[in-house]
């Protein structure tokens, strides 16, 4: 296990790494506590929380490095700046989205992440920034012959102090009473006459201030760079989910666990640390579906909201005709389009497959997945390995889709009790585990170097041939999905989403149908993954990346989750839009994020939102 021998004694290694881990847990706790508070009160999963952390750190750095402010003054100032940012996010971005689909605020905060992703390097530069030491705590103490920074000891003591402070705020102030009421019992909160707008703004300010402070306090320990945001928010999610959404004590314990696992993992098994964390999360969720300290009465993960999420009426005939006509036109266009355009069209069609797969779960079954790239990747690697072994492309695609379908069915079976954000986090964990596996299992996957040289055989080796293959896969898949949606399969999914208790009491096979939905959705995503691999000629662990999963959600919501054709329109618009923007500017994320933010406000039902509402 621990390389105790060469480090001179096992005990001191364990002690130092424990203290190290607890020090790291401190700012993680601040971020996670903020995330948890915000979720508890507003039910918003704030994807931009890591971004606020990062901006808090940059603000503190600017104050210290550029303006000569003392660190101990800069940190609270950064927290204030973060609080202001939180207020702006709540008032300008989220306020009008609470009555829409539960994923809408998530989408909007993801838009913020994208914008900040391009904006932060423009403001603060793209290179890493070394943080200053904390004045007065520069030294180190000697412990069992090893040196431990005094600042780490300060951080270890700081987290419980913040926990105690938060406890006092929650239990001794009016604001705190309102926060607890809103977290535990929304009806009671309404009865208390709480003004929702002020409470939500207040809790966003508090939550973001904690994140900003966490960022500032991490400066003396860690180099600062502009991709810290996703890393931090994902760790914070893990903490909050392990501890239980809305539970501060849970966040405290879980951040210690995560901090310790990270500290020891770095030494023992660096590449596997992230996977290990997700494995712990998956284990906790399997045993305690609401996390360690999540209470039964506390935040219901799935809150049905005003906008009906399932497509209102099956696949209407008009939509089917439109799709068929679209496919005929697309096939004909293969004769006239340039190879470049065909390539782009193939990409758009593959995105449509992936979005349709996700829509089956998120729209029809009401099961949220943040990790659908897991199945994209399974299909991609399945196909890649088959191609490498000399299989013809159609066979390789089928093998990849099958592997993904089996993986999805197994996952769906294990996660069948999970709903809402918890299920979403478990899917995310699953995709991260597979990401780690693809990275680690070098003999099979080539690790970071990927699998290269996967070129399809004739007749699929030309842009036209490949495009027609993709088109055929799409046509077959969409025809199959349309059939499924009109059969009892689709109706059971909708009924269970509308009224799960009722559906079970009516003896509808809810669990079995949901597992089947996972399998089909995974299979279709796997087919998309196989085609993507064949299109690019290579497979990399990035297939499993979180942004792949999020892209899928963006496509579904962009097109309109309540419309059967929403994912297709959304995928086409997103793929072509991003392609267009990247040719114009390298800052495409900022533009896409801005478009998402505007669309979330202007067309919360997506591009086809109006059409979906009209049909009801």
């Amino acid at each position: 296990m621990a390389p105790g021998g060469e480090n001179g004694g096992r005990m001191d290694f364990i002690l130092i790494q424990t203290l190290n881990g607890l020090a790291g847990a401190s700012s993680l706790f601040l971020v996670a506590a903020g995330l948890s508070l915000i979720f508890g009160v507003t039910r918003v999963v704030n994807f931009a929380h890591g971004t606020v952390f990062m901006i808090g750190a940059y603000v503190a750095w600017t104050l210290i490095d550029r303006l000569g402010v003392n660190f101990w003054l800069a940190a609270p100032l950064a927290a204030l700046a973060a609080a202001a940012l939180g207020a702006a996010i709540e008032i300008l971005v989220l306020r009008r989205l609470y009555t829409g689909h539960e994923l809408l605020p998530l989408l909007a905060t993801f838009g913020l992440v994208l914008v900040a992703h391009d904006l932060v390097p423009l403001i603060w530069g793209a290179q890493d920034v070394i943080g200053p030491r904390a004045p007065g705590l520069e030294g180190a103490v000697s412990l069992m012959g090893r040196r431990l920074p005094v600042y780490d000891l300060f951080l270890i003591g700081f987290a419980p102090t913040v926990l105690a402070g938060l406890w006092l705020v929650l239990h001794r102030t009016r604001f705190g009473r309102f926060v607890r009421a809103a977290t535990d019992d929304r009806e009671m909160a309404a009865a208390l006459g709480i003004r929702q707008d002020r409470l939500f703004t207040g809790v966003f300010m508090l939550g973001c201030a904690l994140a900003g402070l966490g960022g500032a306090l991490q400066l003396p320990r860690e180099t600062l760079h502009h991709s810290l945001d996703t890393q931090v928010v994902v760790s914070a999610f893990v903490v909050v989910v392990i501890g239980g959404m809305g539970s501060l004590g849970g966040a405290f314990v879980a951040s210690a666990v995560v901090g310790l696992v990270s500290a020891f993992g770095i030494v023992v098994w660096p590449q596997g640390t992230l996977a290990m964390l997700f494995l712990i999360m998956a284990a906790v969720l399997t045993l305690r579906p609401r996390g360690l300290f999540g209470r039964a009465g506390a935040p219901e993960p799935h809150q049905p909201l005003a906008l009906p999420s399932p497509p209102a009426t099956g696949y209407p005939r008009a939509a089917r005709r439109l799709t068929v006509a679209g496919f005929a036109a697309a096939a004909a266009s293969a004769l006239v389009l340039s190879p470049f355009a065909l390539d782009l069209a193939s990409q758009a069609l593959i995105a449509m497959l992936f979005a349709a797969a996700l829509h089956l779960l998120v729209g029809w079954a009401g099961l949220i997945s943040f990790g659908h790239a897991a199945f994209l990747g399974l299909g991609g690697y399945g196909a890649a390995l088959a191609l490498k072994g000399g299989a013809p492309l159609p066979f390789a695609l089928a093998a990849g889709a099958l592997a993904a379908a089996l993986g999805a069915a197994a996952f769906g079976g294990l996660a069948r009790r999970m709903r809402g954000v918890y299920l979403a986090m478990l899917t995310l964990a699953f995709s991260q585990l597979l990401h780690a596996a693809a990275f680690q299992w070098v003999t099979a996957t080539g690790g970071d170097n990927g699998i290269l040289g996967l070129w399809p055989e004739p007749p699929f080796d030309t842009p036209e041939g490949f495009f027609l293959l993709v088109l055929g896969c799409c046509a077959a898949t969409f025809a199959l999905l349309a059939r499924l949606y009109r059969a009892p399969f689709g109706f059971v999914l909708r009924a269970a989403q509308d009224a799960e208790a009722r559906a079970r009491a009516d003896a509808l096979p809810v669990d079995g149908t949901r597992v089947a939905a996972f399998a089909v959705s995974g299979g279709v995503a796997g087919l998309a993954g196989g085609l993507l691999v064949a299109l690019k000629g290579s497979a990399f662990p990035t297939l499993f990346d979180i942004p792949q999963s999020i892209d899928g959600l963006v496509m579904v919501l962009l097109g309109g989750i309540a419309h059967p054709l929403g994912p297709l329109i959304g995928a086409a618009a997103y793929t072509l839009g991003v392609d267009l923007i990247t040719t114009v500017t390298p800052h495409w994320q900022m533009i896409v994020g801005g478009v998402i933010l505007v669309l979330a406000q202007a067309a919360p039902g997506g591009l086809l939102g109006r059409a979906a509402r009209g049909r009801r």
């Binding site: 009465g297 497509p311 009426t313 059969a487 009892p488 909708r494 509308d498 009224a499 009491a505 009801r616």
Partner: protein, 253 residues
């Protein structure tokens, strides 16, 4: 004589607060029984336990001698238990006929994946729609139903599987007296024709004493009376905790 439904020593508490304590009773086949009690007495909790939606902390429930506790709601339903909920929750994205057809579409294996619901038999759905008087609304979206019609649809959903035991949680709450009587008449007719056993909760005493052959009284989680309506009405304990204060039930019906 074994009862159709036999409940023994059922206990349940939420967060240390007892909600049901040692509840036990028998209901013979074909009987219509009412479960009454103030708000918060534990009626809905008992129904959730009988239906498999909540776990009891202890006790046993037998249906025709076979244990029900520990079964999932779907499994309980497949054994012939139907239930309606206190707050009616129709399938808001489906229409009336489709939701009935869906519940009636049993078996079918792989065809459940491929055969359009519109091609599944609809005779049973039409028949139960006629039984509850909703024929005219067959094509209506469930979300657009009036309150009373939604209750009727719930009853139709519960009856279409031809259950042996029907649990109804406050089925007529919010209905006008005439509508109440009409609704309960439907249930009584079905019970007489097919031997359906019914257990329902109700706050309206006229409905309770007009339709139930048997009344169970729950008070803060304890069953304090169980017998025919006249005996329950005369019971001292019941008068004291529930019917007292000159309420409707103290007057002759």
């Amino acid at each position: 004589m074994t009862a159709l439904l036999s409940v023994r020593g059922v206990r349940k508490s939420y967060g240390g607060t007892p909600v049901l304590e040692d509840v036990g009773f028998d209901i013979p086949a074909g009987e219509i029984a009412a479960l009454i009690g103030a708000n918060g007495a534990g009626k809905s909790t008992l129904f959730s336990i009988l239906g498999g939606a909540a776990d009891a902390d202890g006790g046993s429930v037998l249906l025709n001698g076979a244990p029900l506790l520990g079964l999932r709601p779907e499994a309980v339903a497949r054994r012939g238990v139907s239930r309606t909920f206190q707050t009616s929750t129709p399938y808001r994205s489906l229409d009336v006929l489709d939701s009935l057809r869906l519940v009636a579409a049993r078996g079918g294996g792989w065809r459940r994946l491929t055969r359009p619901l519109s091609a599944w038999p609809e005779a049973a759905a039409r028949a139960v729609l006629a039984e509850v008087g909703l024929e005219a609304l067959a094509e209506a979206p469930c979300a657009a139903l009036s309150y009373g019609d939604a209750k009727r649809l719930e009853l139709a959903l519960a009856l279409i599987r031809d259950p042996t035991l029907l649990l109804m949680d406050e089925p007529t709450a919010g209905m006008a007296p005439a509508e109440r009587t009409a609704f309960m008449d439907l249930v009584r007719t079905r019970s007489r024709e097919r031997g359906l056993t019914v257990l329902f909760t109700e706050h309206d005493m006229a409905t309770v004493f007009g339709f139930a052959a048997r009344v169970l009284v729950l008070d803060r989680g304890r069953l304090i009376a169980d017998g025919d309506p006249a005996a329950v009405r005369a019971d001292e304990a019941v008068r004291r905790v529930y019917l007292g204060g000159g309420g409707a039930a103290t007057k002759p019906l």
